[in-house]
């Protein structure tokens, strides 16, 4: 809801121009009526309409400035005829009218050019830019005619007004890291793989990783789904990264890294997982000195010691890691556990500190007789540590020593539990069971279709709607489990269906290893108690989710230790933002966001993706390309990467399905 004076946003037509106080209508959309808490907006104009918050807005100039922003945006495009020439003409003609030199022919020309842009432009940006301009020309025709008939400049033509524009796309908006997805897909389409990688690395340094193991929330906001099926966004990210690695090319940075500042300012990062690495990378691109403190002997955090080799080969992840550690101002200290005392030292030595230590404590499942020290009770994090340290770093001993020919039961439903069961298969367990409280559809929603499907193929037994009531042991080791089964009972009042225990559903199951993978929590022992840091109700560090500063000035937090156990891409997005805030904070002591970041948050609130939108101008029925996977027999007893990735032909075919849904929006402040 927003208070507007006029709006055509997403087809609504609210016109409060001649209405009385009690007849005023509000917009149904979360339009940015206030730019920041202390600054209100005059107007918002974008791909799906225009909203005026203020009576006094100069609509002709607003239209002209929007076309001008498109011209500025086109600094990064101009690659189709209607966009390249049409955009320029829109701007030239609107400016002509706004400065008082226009004619009625110009209006006709504007409409003609707009029509061609809307029908034939390559990107959605070219197709949508004319929309709000035409809206203004229609609903404020008198204002346009007045300027033409009287050959006068629009009323605020020469005043200084702040117009802030932002280009986004539904996928980019949905991606927690706000990756410029259409750009990296275009790089693949053009077979300019280095450019593709450069586009990814603007906001996402872990291109190998998030080209493999990202749960791709972006694909749920892909407009192509409105037509047939979403683009395989995640896998297309691999192409650029693999190209760089395969050809041994020098690092493709998003821009030439700045010279080390060597000005004595330095930032400490606690934890070398995705969040820590990301923050280090973007700080280092600015030439800022960064020290990363890592408890483990290896870098990479949970993705290194948690995500299995068959899903995320360490050679590839190491490329992402070395991208960061090879930056001249990044310094890494491994085997260095930071405790409360040490954190206090670091906090006083460094200009800012970013906590990025993740959530590495496995939560209990809450069954009767659950004792963490009973034989066969093995937390998912510890189990995966063991598996991965052995296979990736030849450290420790193989987990098959424990798991071979054993019955393994995992309780979970998320990615970690999938890793547990699929690793257990690979370690030679005789039977692997996944117990999950909800149904198949939910587990696919929590993970991915591929992940679930592949686990089933490899022989994991999934028992849905089930939970452990009690664990039995022989005094030393787990022997069996008592399991309850539930059913989903629809709410007669139309509410959410309830899980209800089935009276006849209890059964017992033999079990050698019980691996809880229900969730993880942050290890908060390292936070000095006297700092009294504000925490969330789920025991993670509290920030405002925008600048990522904790309740203690100069102490920031990003990734799972801030959000709770979540995705790599979420950690990356938070850390990128935190790095941006820190890079200013260490110089001016202020916590501030850039216009781009403010707009990013506004658009997120407004929602860029519109599930109901009808797509025109694209041929429906072209199936999403699916990459080849190793056959079950080729993969289930080893750690070979399961997903072979797209062939070149498949990648280009898939990239050509992308509709390049760039949108431009602009706020007048």
């Amino acid at each position: 809801m927003a208070n507007v004076f006029f709006s055509t946003w997403q087809g609504e037509l609210i016109d409060n121009r001649n209405k009385k106080e009690d007849e005023l209508q509000a917009s149904a959309f979360s339009l940015p009526e206030n730019y920041t808490s202390d600054k209100s907006s005059k107007a918002f104009i974008g791909w799906d309409g225009v909203a005026l918050f203020d009576k006094d807005v100069d609509v002709v100039r607003l239209a002209m400035e929007y076309a001008a922003q498109y011209q500025i945006y086109s600094e990064a495009c101009g690659r189709c005829t209607p966009g390249r020439w049409g955009g320029r003409i829109l701007y030239d003609l609107l400016d002509k009218i706004a400065r008082g030199e226009g004619s009625h022919d110009d209006i006709a020309h504007l409409k003609e050019v707009s029509s061609t842009m809307m029908i034939t432009s390559k990107c959605e940006i070219g197709k949508t830019v004319p929309k709000p301009i035409l809206d203004l020309m229609e609903h404020f025709a008198a204002d346009f005619n007045d300027l033409i008939d009287n050959q006068k400049a629009s009323r605020h033509y020469n005043e200084e007004i702040n117009y802030i524009a932002k280009v986004t796309a539904p996928c980019t908006d949905m991606c927690p890291s706000h990756v410029d997805i259409p750009a990296y897909i275009e790089g693949v389409r053009d077979m300019q793989f280095s450019e593709s990688l450069g586009a990814t690395r603007q906001t996402m340094p872990l291109a190998h990783t998030c080209g493999r193991v990202c749960p791709h929330p972006c694909e749920d906001a892909c407009r192509r789904a409105n037509l047939d099926s979403p683009i395989s966004i995640m896998e297309l990210k691999r192409l650029g990264a693999d190209y760089e690695t395969d050809h041994g090319l020098p690092w493709q940075h998003p821009f030439e890294p700045k010279e080390p500042k060597n000005d004595g300012k330095k930032v400490a990062i606690i934890g070398a997982g995705p969040a820590g690495l990301t923050a280090a990378y973007y700080l280092a691109l600015e030439g800022i000195q960064v020290d990363i403190f890592e408890e483990l002997p290896v870098l990479g955090g949970e993705v290194a010691v948690g995500v299995p080799q068959y899903r995320m080969p360490i050679e590839k992840y190491n490329k992402d890691i070395v991208l960061v550690t090879s930056m001249p101002t990044v310094n890494v200290i491994t085997n260095h556990r930071v405790d409360a005392a040490r954190l206090k030292e670091i906090d006083s030595e460094y200009d800012a500190t970013l906590l990025a230590f993740g959530t590495r404590l496995s939560k209990k499942i809450g069954a009767a007789n659950e004792k963490m020290d009973m034989g066969g009770y093995w937390g998912a994090i510890a189990m995966l540590d063991k598996v991965n340290l052995w296979h990736k770093y030849s450290t420790g001993s193989p987990a098959s020593n424990e798991l071979k020919d054993k019955v393994v039961v995992c309780v979970g439903g998320g990615f970690t539990s999938m890793d547990v069961v699929r690793c257990s298969i690979r370690e030679g367990a005789s039977r692997v069971v996944m117990l999950y409280r909800r149904d198949e559809k939910t587990i696919i929603g929590n993970t991915t279709y591929e992940e679930y499907h592949e686990a089933v193929e490899e022989g994991v037994e999934f028992i849905f709607h089930s939970a452990i009531e009690e664990i039995f042991d022989d005094g030393k080791n787990i022997t069996k489990l008592k399991i309850n089964q539930y059913e989903l009972v629809p709410d007669p009042n139309g509410g959410r269906a309830q899980l209800v225990k089935r009276e006849d559903g209890d059964f017992e199951m033999e079990c050698d290893y019980l691996i809880p993978a229900v969730s993880q929590s942050a290890d908060l022992q390292l936070l000095p108690a006297e700092w009294e840091l504000a925490l969330t109700s789920w025991e993670t560090l509290l920030t405002n989710g925008k600048d990522y500063m904790t309740s203690r000035p100069g102490l920031f937090a990003a990734g799972d230790c801030e959000y709770g156990p979540m995705t790599i891409v979420n950690a990356v997005g938070q850390a990128k933002r935190a790095a941006s805030v820190i890079s200013k904070y260490i110089y001016d002591g202020k916590v501030s966001l850039s216009d781009d970041e403010i707009m990013e948050d506004h658009l997120k609130k407004l929602k860029v993706y519109n599930k109901k939108e009808k797509i025109t101008g694209w041929m429906p029925g072209l199936p999403r390309v699916v990459s080849q996977k190793l056959e079950v027999d080729e993969r289930k007893d080893n750690n070979k990467e399961v997903n072979m990735g797209f062939t070149g032909e498949e990648a280009v075919d898939e990239a050509q399905r992308c509709m390049r849904c760039y949108y431009i929006s602009m706020v007048a402040v």
């Binding site: 030239d92 061609t116 034939t120 077979m191 395969d246």
Partner: protein, 747 residues
Amino acid sequence: MSIQRQEKKPVTITIDGKECMGSQGETILKIARANGIYIPTMCYLSKVEPIASCRMCVVEVEGVEGMILSCQEKAVDGAVVKTSSKDLYTQRQNIMKLYNVNHPLECGVCDKSGECDLQNKTLEFGISQQSFTTRESHKKVENWGYVSYDPALCIMCEKCVRVSNEITGNEALSISVGGYKSTIVNSKNFTCASLGESAAVCPVGALVNSDFKYTSNAWELKRIPASCAHCSSVCSLNYEVKNDKIYRVTNNFEFSSLCGAGRFGFDFENRNAVKDFEIFREAVSAFKRADTVRFSAVITNEEALILQKLKDKYKYKLVCDEAYGYQQFLKAYGSITGETLYSGDLNSIKESSAVIVFGSRINDDNPMVKYHITMASKRNRARVAYLHPIEDSNIGNIVTQFIKYEAGSEEGVAALLANTLLSSREISPELKSFLDNLDIGNLSAESSVGEEELTALLKSIDKKDRLTFVVGNDIYNHPRAKEIAKLLGAIDKYSDFSFVIVPPATNALGVSLICSLDEKAEGYTVGFNSKGNFELSSLGGGDMDMPALNQQEGTLTNIDKRVVPTNVALNYNGYVLNDIANELGLNAEYTIDYTSDLPVKSGFRSEVFDDLPSYFDNSGFEHRGYLLTSKSMKAAQGFDDIEELPTFDGAIVYNCNENINMNIFTNVTKAFKSDVVYLKGSPQFANIVKLKDGEEIIFSANGTKYKRVFKIDESMKGTIALNPTFDMDLHASLNSSYRFSHLNREQ
């Protein structure tokens, strides 16, 4: 959603009422064109992936709202497509109006005038006036060596960039994006001649050949379809001629490409030949008394056949240094595979998902092979393993694994490759016992090809379905060439690799199949573009003139095992070989009378020259001459033990021409003629030979004496220098020797 890969099914769509067949994955435009249906485009180029910048190709599809981009959108079975309507016409016309915004009105002097897509489409869509203008900024004309670029004329179709990235792989050109200010940029200021391929596809006069600029109107030139004479790819091209002078070379750039040498090295004709009857009589008697006729493989199939027929009659030795080693190699190779010809061609390289290149500095030896590897690299993400003693920085962007071996160790490398690539294959007992007896550790140490490199190679081709193995020029004159041929033949026979055995000179394959060659010349020798007591020369300067390949008609046999016709572009006033042959008792009115007489037993067909087609059809299929038929031959199984690998210590020279100046014929052209010939080596080479950059050096290698100016190439490593031979026309040892040799410096 399915996990398994979907097979390509046939699709049927209806375009403008006509039922058209295609296969899944083909675009609407492609199917339309294959069916002879016209859809206007400005940016579409068949040989690259769709660019989609012009938006002219929009069509309507029944039941689909909006206009559909036919160049990029794939056909969906059952779709009903309309390629023209009032609305489509309006939008296309509007696009043409936009293209014409501020386009400079300099058609009167523009090189492209008369063959300009912008002119043609402006006319087609009836744009009689410029309805829009905009503020224009000054855009400077850029000179990039062989081509120059005028951004004011550029319509940003991006074809040139695509070619540079996808085909030639020089990656020189890119787009500087800036909305209306967008231009094409050459940020590293490349001046290589392969930029000519980018200029060839320019639809307007923006990117043009510098040398051709302002020399002729396009419509004054006569187009002679011919075949390129410079290397064994024998690409199809047109010589464009006026007043008995070639002004430029063009080609069917929609479906084929040329290299810089083919594009710009066209004026190698033997200009001043006259008929001198006295000399003609001397030539006839020279043939009569000849103990040997020695010739170069830059010769037509028909001429080769004449020489062979004369050999049959006069029993002289017939020597072709360029082709002999190759002929022997093919025989030894065939003794294992049981086939006279190798299995692959340029297209199989392009379609590959993994390519191994062995024994060739391929970017210089055969640019067209390199282009096809580039296409495989870009489109198929092909793994490209490049095995050679010298790393080549020019192909760093396509090579995924460089395996350096010691010069001379090719036999060992071939054995290691056979052992690696056939490790899990069903092979003959003879081969198995041969491979089992290899001393891998020793071979590995001697050749410096590590076992881990071979393991990585094997891993990288795992699961790849289309594999091609390219064999090059280093091997054919190796002392152990036959043994290497057998090992490679075994890989061909027992693995999924298709092989391309790159012919070392223009018509080396044709000569090997037509002539029964002798190894060594002896006695009184007639040289045909080669050294001899009596010399026939297409370059002039011999005892008697012969026509160059741009003054001749006849056929050539190319790397694709295709027999292709070439035609006369320029007049020639002297005698030809056929005149001599007629005097010696053969009887043919024209040289091309021999075309139908080419040996069928070697795979040729009895086709009459004038019946040979030379075009690409709408779908891009090449209809040019005909393909040779591979013949079965008796297969043997024996493998010889590996000899101790020869070693080269100290400074080594590698005979290698750069890819523009390929041979004696390119070295007389205006574009490439060089007075100074450079020996190029690394700083390390400079150090051991104690040479400074720019210093002159005289040395001998394999008994040939060279005078060169030394140039340090910072991109090179190691102790092997590149020694061009394009100025060494008549030295036989050059073409029959192993390409690596010790450098013996003479003071």
